[in-house]
Symmetry: C2
Subunit: 394 residues, 2 copies
Amino acid sequence: MVNFSNKVKDLNGSAIRDLLSVIENDNMISFAGGTPSPETFPKAEFAEIATEILLEKGNIALQYGATEGYAPFMEQVRARLKKQGIYKDGDGLLITCGGQQGISLAAKILLNEGDLAVCENPSYVGGLNAFRQNGARLEGIDLLEDGINIDRLKSAEFAGMKLLYTIPTFQNPAGITMSERKREQLLEAVRATDAYIIEDNPYGELRFAGEEVPTIKQIADRGKNNNVIYIGTFSKILSPGLRLGYVVATPEIIDKMTVCKQADDVHTGMFSQVLASEYMSRYDIDAQIAKTRALYKEKYDIMQGAIAKFFPDSVQVTKPQGGLFLWVDGDLKADCNEISRAAIAEGVAIVPGNAFMADINAKTSAFRLNYSAPLKEQIQVGIERLGRVLCKLS
Amino acid sequence: MVNFSNKVKDLNGSAIRDLLSVIENDNMISFAGGTPSPETFPKAEFAEIATEILLEKGNIALQYGATEGYAPFMEQVRARLKKQGIYKDGDGLLITCGGQQGISLAAKILLNEGDLAVCENPSYVGGLNAFRQNGARLEGIDLLEDGINIDRLKSAEFAGMKLLYTIPTFQNPAGITMSERKREQLLEAVRATDAYIIEDNPYGELRFAGEEVPTIKQIADRGKNNNVIYIGTFSKILSPGLRLGYVVATPEIIDKMTVCKQADDVHTGMFSQVLASEYMSRYDIDAQIAKTRALYKEKYDIMQGAIAKFFPDSVQVTKPQGGLFLWVDGDLKADCNEISRAAIAEGVAIVPGNAFMADINAKTSAFRLNYSAPLKEQIQVGIERLGRVLCKLS
């Protein structure tokens, strides 16, 4: 038995990951993933530029690079974020190995063992594990229809928190978007503490209905608040396989993250960065995102249509205006793990809701559905199968 | 002022990195880098396969992948390491974002704050920072001509160490290779403790003279020792820009590292892994390495030839049989930082030796020279310049 460090000894793999290994089966329809649809990857465009990059910029793309990121790519990211109101002059920027590394670095630079990290309940497992592996004491606050329960956040219990982790737009797993009013209240509540807000926004650009809501970072900038660490990614709008994300925060925070990243993996893959940079120079990434949004809207509509037809009335499903996920809950006579097992027996995979809880032993009948990855024809069939399971259990 | 976590608050960037930013100057000849020569990158071969990968395997190369690594690439890495005697049946394997991430994960899973991590003095800065950012108490043991000082290692002072970090072959920065006898002694000394040996071997395949020495992992396997965590990389033999490294250790250790890696960056870049995998299927990576070795041998000979001609006799230079680095020390009337400044004034960059010390405030006149990155004609001119500096200071 290895004597692992205290901070990691109780850390377990994501339940989703274990689940995904079970469902490698031709007949299985999976709503358990959290991946973008490969139909959206700009393969032809990348293919067109990859050879040229290797032959003409190979000395850069295949060599070590700066820890901060590849300068031309950083410039493009900055310009894009500025247009979106997320980056302001004087902010720091760090290119990371996916958004996950941004969360992980934020956790590392802020958390001592035993420090309180607060999250939405439910929340993204990968984020929670980043806090757990820094020895955080993790507490969840219930997620209401318009975002986190602010009254609860203001209670004495959370006054000493070191960070608050939120996915305010098209939340994973619940699909919920925090209202602008609540974002303001959140900022105000956190300003009263010494805590930082980790704003994780992987899905914000995947809106297919409704009105844009400003990011928490954007609202914080209006009030000259410096307590938001903003995490973004190209995984859901371009390609996760390239592992490209970024962090926007004060230079002091970005500098410390950079030093830590240097000791973690030196720098983010150069070929990936040069490829994304050339792609953004030559093609219209916003048109690419618009195509993705349109596809996800279609899949979303198919899924909601099938749910209306096949799910029992006792079950509630969130109605997000973008993103990748729906959250299902209701008056069911089974725990989420039982539902998951029954679904697998019917040839359909979901993620049981307890995987997303700060306390993974919490009892819930809720579960997550993904509509970006399955094919349109699979969505129809899969929801019908799942409907049979839920009807039996309701 | 941000209230950073205890483990990172005193962590500073690598002095080398700061130095490299100073020397972006056309007339400057740099022996300060640690990068492979871009002349060795298989650009044409990569260009030949990249388009095909994107068009035919884009759904895999651009998508999320397993945290452990891309299965066909893992199979190739396993087969290669098995042939080299480094991987044995029953071992675990994890593909990492460069060798650096392997060191970082080993540090994370083993070290509590205040734990003793032992390294060679001097040693690789990135390794040392990985231990520092986990709150380790870092102690260096002097490096002798045939490797670490074993008598010192056996002293009571080190009995409670949690890990020992070594680069046994063509050490960075000293170029020293630990003798087989000393590797056996090291294993024996560490077996008497509960510590793990982190064997970092980025340069082992870059031998251009002398006889192979078995890895510590290999010797440990003969004695059924399970206390070696072996770190390898493709950065020095293929391309650092792809960020591909790996760890070989017991499944228990690899499983814990995998869970931590999942929370750090989900997985290593898929396009990089598929590219390296296809490259290894279609081309002969050993022939590629042989070409690199031949080039470095030429550069090494030029550098040693120029050193013999231009350096004062009072200066000693190591004579490695491979790798990227020489270590210079001697009876000089100046500290390494003064030498570095004087060298920059003459248009040549080196890395001052204290950057590589467990205690960066240690006084030394030693410094590191790299011969892989500069062009052959630069080596001659640069060493002549440096010789002038050293003659003045000797």
